[in-house]
Structures are given as C-alpha cells and as structure tokens.
Symmetry: C2
Subunit: 476 residues, 2 copies
Amino acid sequence: MHIDLNRSGSKTLPHQISETLSQRISSGLLQQGVRLPSVRSLAITLNVSQVTVSKAYDMLEKRGLIYCRQGKGCFVADPTHNRRQEEGCWQDLYDDYLPRAQLWRNFDVSEVKYPFHLAAIHSELLPLQDIGDTYASLVKEQPELMATYGNFQGDLELRNVMREHLKSRGISLTSSDLMITSGTQQGIDLVARTFVGPGDTVYLEAPSYTGAIDVFAGRGAEMIFVPTDSEGMRVDVLTKMCDQRPPKLIYTIPTFQNPSGVTMSITRRQRLLELARSYRCLIVEDDPFSDLYFHAPPPRAIKSMDPDGHVVYMKSFSKVLAPGCRIACVAAEGNILSRLIAAKSASDLGSPLLTQKAVLPFIAEKYDAYAAQLRITLRGRMEKAAKLLKLYAPPGVNYILPEGGLNLWLELPPSPDIASLHDLAEQESISFLPGDVCYSAETPSRHIRLCYSQMKESEMEEGLQRFLRVLGRFLQ
Amino acid sequence: MHIDLNRSGSKTLPHQISETLSQRISSGLLQQGVRLPSVRSLAITLNVSQVTVSKAYDMLEKRGLIYCRQGKGCFVADPTHNRRQEEGCWQDLYDDYLPRAQLWRNFDVSEVKYPFHLAAIHSELLPLQDIGDTYASLVKEQPELMATYGNFQGDLELRNVMREHLKSRGISLTSSDLMITSGTQQGIDLVARTFVGPGDTVYLEAPSYTGAIDVFAGRGAEMIFVPTDSEGMRVDVLTKMCDQRPPKLIYTIPTFQNPSGVTMSITRRQRLLELARSYRCLIVEDDPFSDLYFHAPPPRAIKSMDPDGHVVYMKSFSKVLAPGCRIACVAAEGNILSRLIAAKSASDLGSPLLTQKAVLPFIAEKYDAYAAQLRITLRGRMEKAAKLLKLYAPPGVNYILPEGGLNLWLELPPSPDIASLHDLAEQESISFLPGDVCYSAETPSRHIRLCYSQMKESEMEEGLQRFLRVLGRFLQ
C-alpha cells in the first residue's frame, strides 16, 4: 500500500507508518484477518529500511491492532478472536492511495432508529414541497434541462442568485467568481486535489470536520491541528506554528464549528486573514451554519474582508434546503477559481443542471424568510435537548450549549472507552459520532457529537433520554 | 508549480517539464502573458538542477510557447503579440497539481450553432418525458427523497435494476458489486484517485478519451498509448510493453471506441484479460456505446469473462438517457469496489437520490425497446452524414464509417494546422474536437472528431456541409 511519508516531519517514520495503518484499520479499509504486506515488501514499496517497517508493526501489535505469526506474516486482528488467516487474494495486494475513510465508515446510511451521528435537518422542516413543485414544472416545461450537460462552473442563473444571496451577507462578488458544486464535500475535495499534495501543510481546528480530514489525508497532506478556545481557532498559536511550517492552506469552519459548535471572533477572523496574506496561502472558509444562529447573528464571513482572493468560501445549501439535492456554492477569484473549475470538469463534467434550476427560485425568493423560521424551530429543539441534558446527563459529562448549528459536543470523563459506548448505544438503536474521527491520527478523544435536528422532535427527545441512560450505565 | 517527474522514465527531465508546461498552456491553465516561475525557483520546487529547467524553457521558447527577457523572466507567449507583462499576482505563484485540463478547455458549453465537438444525443431523441413524469410523481409522493443523503454506494433498488440490466448483457453480478456514480467521468476519476499515483503505469488506446487522460495526468501517472488497428488495441504490442513497464492499470473503451470508433475483437478482449490477470492489475472497461450498434451486436464485455475481479466495468446511462442526470454504473468486486465506495464518500457523499430514483423505472421497463429504436435512428443519421462526407469531403480526407456509437473520426492530409482550422470553423459557428487532446502530450495528430447525433438532423446536415466547405478551403 501507498503511504505518504514526511521525512522532515516531526513524527518518526515508524510512527507515521503505524498511524496510517491504524487509520486504515479503523476506517475498515483493512479488514479483520487480512494479511499485511511482508516487512520486506513494504520496506521496498515505501523505500525505507526493514527495521522501520518492523518497528511500525511492533507498535501496531502492542496496541492489539495486528498480530504476527512466525513464518506466516502479520494480520489485522479480529477482536472476536475468530481469526481467519486468509490466503490474501490479489486484490489485497493491489496498492491504493486511501490513507483513511472515516466518512465511509461512520456516516453511511444507518439502520438505527436514533441516528444522532448525522448532522442534518429532519425532512419535515425542509421546504421540500416548494422545491418539488419547481421540479415538477421544470420537467414539464423545460425537459431539455435533463438532456444538457451544464456549464462546468454551474448554471449562470443560479450563480446570479447566489451572488445576490452572498451580497446580502456582506460578500460582494460577481457571478463569475462563483462555482456550483455537488455539496460542500465536493468543494473541499476540489480544493484539495487542485492545491494540496504530499507534504503540504494544512492547518485545521482541533477538532475538525471528518470529511475534510479524509480528503486532505488522501492528498498526503501534513495536517496540523490548532488548539481552539471559546473564540475559535487560537490564531496566536497558529502564527507560531506557521513560523516552523509555513501553511499551504488553512481550513476553518469559523461559525458554529463542526463538531465543537464554537464561533471564531471577528478579531481572530481578521488576524487569520492577515496571516494568510502574509504567507500567500489559501483559507478554506467552510460555512454550513451561519444562517442557523439562535440569538445574535455571527460575525461576518472572513471572505467579506478579503480583497485579494485568499479565501475560498463555501456555502452549503444542501444542509438547509435538501441534502439529497447536493448543491453548494464556492466563491473564489482569479486563477484560484479557474483551476477549481478545471478540476470540477475532470471530476464529474459538472453538477446536474435540473437540480440547480430546481432550487433556484426558492433561494431567490423564499430562503431568508424560511431561514428565519428555521432558526426559531432549531432553537426550540436545542433547548429541549438542553433541558434533557441538564436533567439526565451523568455527572462528569461537560458541554457548552451551542449558539447555532445542529450539533451538541459532549465531553466525557477522562479515558472513556468510546468504542464500547458506541456498541452499547447501537444495541439500543442509537448512533453518535466518536470524537476521535475529528482528528487525523490516533488522538484519543473523550468527546462525542450528537445532532439534535435530524429526527422528529419527539423521537429526538426519546432517543436522547435513552442515550443518556446508556451513558449513565456506561460511566458507572 | 508541481510536476510529477519520472526519473526512471524514457523521457528526459527537461522533456517531461516542457511537456507538462505545454499541456498547461494549451489547456488554458497558464494564461497568455503570465510569468513562469524563475529557473532557480522551479529548480528548487522540482528538486532538479537549474540546467534542467533552462533546457525545458529553451524547448518551449523554440516552439514559440513562451518568450524570455533578460532580467525579467519568461512569460507565456501571446499569439496576438499584444504582450502583457503581468506583475504576477500571488495566485500565479500558488502551486497546484493540475498538469492539464483539456476537458475544461474543449468541452464547456459552447455558444456555437453546430457543436460537433460534443459526443451526445439530441434531446428530441431522448426519453425525457418518461423520466420527467417519474420526477414529477416522485417529488409529490416521496418528497423525502430530496431530503435524504443516499447510500454512498448508490440506491439499492437502482442497483437491483442495474444488476438485471447487466445480466441481460452477459455480466452476472450481485447488487453489492455495483456502485452508482455521477456519470462515467466520476467513475474513472474514482478509480484513478484510489489506485493510480505518481509514476504508476497506465496503458490506454492511442488515441483515447480526453477526460480519462486529464484524470490520469492529474494523478501523475506515466501514460503509455498502445497502437490500435481495426481490431482495437494491439494486445500483442501491449504485452511487449508490459515486459518493460508492468501495468498498474489498463484503460480501454473496447466497443465503438472514443474517439476512433474501432471495436476490439473477442480474441483481443480475452488476451487483454489474461494479461491483466498475469500482471495482477486492473482493466477499466469504459462502455458508453455498446447498446448503440448499427448492424451486429458487438462482442461481449470483457467483464463478462472476468472470474476474479480484474475488470472495473463502467456503463454510462447519461449519454443514452439524459446527460444532465449524470447517472452511471460501476461494476467491480471485493475490496476493489469497497475502496472505490470509500473514495466516492470523500468526493461528494453520494449521488443525488432523487435522480437515481427518477431514471430507475425507465431502465427497468423501457430501456431495451428504446435502445432498439435509437439504434435505427442513429444509424439513419450516420448514413446521412456518410453520404455528405462521400459527396463533399475534400480529397485526402480519410475515415472509416463507424459500426456504432456517436462519432466520426476523420484523418486529414499530413501536417495540417488544426488550430487554424478550428479558428476557421469557429468563424462559421462550428466546433469539432482536435485529435491531439486524445493523447497525453504534444503528439501531433491529424485527426478530428465530429459527433453526428448532437443536433437536429437538418442542422447536422447543414453544419456538416458547411464544415466540409471550410475544410476544403482550408486544405487548399
């Protein structure tokens, strides 16, 4: 398998190898019982000494992730002890470039009754009838929309609507500075494939969004997680870190951050932009939640203060309108944007035109009134969840109530076995997101993320109570 | 800028650097007047000597692609001689990983009246009303489809339909061996990002599909183009090439190949599969056209003969049903497929569920009858085009009439200046695809590709006559 090694990095080579293998195992990319490459062959593939690979395998064996048998090789451990020693089909030895896949592992459509792991809004709250009506009239009146490859950059009429939308939020750009992507996930992926490569330094908040981490890991980036406090990313700490390792890119979710819920102060936003300008690097400003505030509107977007194109701003409409439509807007200027459009063309030849046209009238005419109502509803839900937490959260469980967004971020008492908690919850048909997938490597996290908006209100309340009981039993 | 150099490759380093820069210029990624990095800084970035970079710049200057000024640096040439010497904004120096983008350059929605460059089927021939009716009833009866993140692998019900579809074409798999992608372009991209990395050898037919070349180039692959004859890829030649450079992957469009129209014989298909098995590598079998035969059905798919998962088979439904819907099916087994699904999750969190459901009933119930009728219609068009070619093609223009698919592949007399022809055609509001974008580097090609199914029949006839007149004038 392919592993991007950073020979001038702060971590030793055996450490880097064992971290990547551990991520591959925990993502399910390396399945239980599968034979790892021999020490000799992996050493040749990675161009390192056999001692280095042996050390990495030792680390993994000590952590119980693999086991080795004299003369037979090393195998991914099977926690049920029902050890298959597979012959190793040719496919197992066919190299890939996927260091981890925690999205795949943790987010795929789940069969649980209480899917707290998924940050989404319940379909009853979404404007599906409006969007559906537009679909119905478009397929009748303009069927050729289904037959047309859209513009790679995205439909111009929709970009005009997005331009006005962003303008009302302090971001003044032209339609030619905007691109439509299939969700923000694709936007992040396009930036990464275009501008990030092996060894490039990417700074992120600690913790950060799993899907972004997967993508940057896939590009072989050196990811560095910057501590945060109640004002968001510690830009002072980041500034010192940049002295050591200049940034290629800084990825941030400044508003109601995913997963922590924290919002970056306006001062830090300004400083972050100054830092990016002085290092001539990009900021990716991922903004799924700024319309979903519960009290005061959040500080203005970093992009609104960006005179010379250092910020690639991403606004998700999927989450708030209809996740299944997969529509997001990416704002960037100059040849940063044109290169992203080039990358978009190679990814999928452009997003479906019909869907772009289907969400357009709603965004143009009704979005703001809808968002105002949605804020009230979500705040109500959050307060219901808060009440339950106050009543039933076991002692030692800490949290800060979010000022917006969709998630609760709970800190458990030291050294919890989150995997066992996950299993226990699953037995009650409850899922949550383990905090460790919000970091790049085996950073032990005692956090978990719960979304309070993905179910009907009554189900959310029922599920949360049930989960807090499970948590109580678990912590005893 | 980043360039993947192959230090053990057959081409010299200056040659590799100049080829990549030339591709970036012809794709429009490097614009006229932009200053290239200094010799010193590019040498440091690429970890090569300054002499190597100087040689590369010399090659480009000799070809007229750049010009250098003592003390000022080297600039991308401006053929209109209206030379801007830009100050170089920070963005120009911000490194990327895009070696070329010919899709972006050549396929974006064009304003020409006769878009012969786009291989598509005119909307009047597509079953848009059927698909539109399904959309209309789905948004009414199951609006929650718009609210749901689909399964990353694709909707199970659609995969069941695809399974039956493939079974009727000799490919027997289970639904769990199939994945839905946003067009075949995304399928190719997923395979490349998962399994192809810098220096990996990818074999393709000479010529091949521009979009696949863009993708493999973006992964830093060493692409090798295998000669073809009337039976398709010369597998005997490929076998010898593999002795020198073992394949990581073989990309083929065996049926009515894009752009050449040639179909691979059954014997070659078998041999190609044997070769892949002996090298334990993957074949990507891209199949957009096998249902669009004009006389006899083409030989069976390579995938239908594949017992141990060496073939990733891709069937486009976009082209034949509704390009704007972006639906394709990828068939692969075991952990080849599971890794592709993991990559799909990081790319876009899955394809839109509503669209998957919207094409489903048509594929299940009406596709075969529709395809039978479409074959007759397309054959009629091709014959109309053939008649015009026979009457009006200037002497020295050669072609073989295709047995299926959507394209004509014309060979012009030696050493034509295709760029000038393109400009001439554009003046008459006609576009075509220049053959050189169907290769990886500056392979001079005297071919052009024309699609005869993208316009109304009368417009196609009018446009083709007009183009052949332009071509006649040009060749005089």
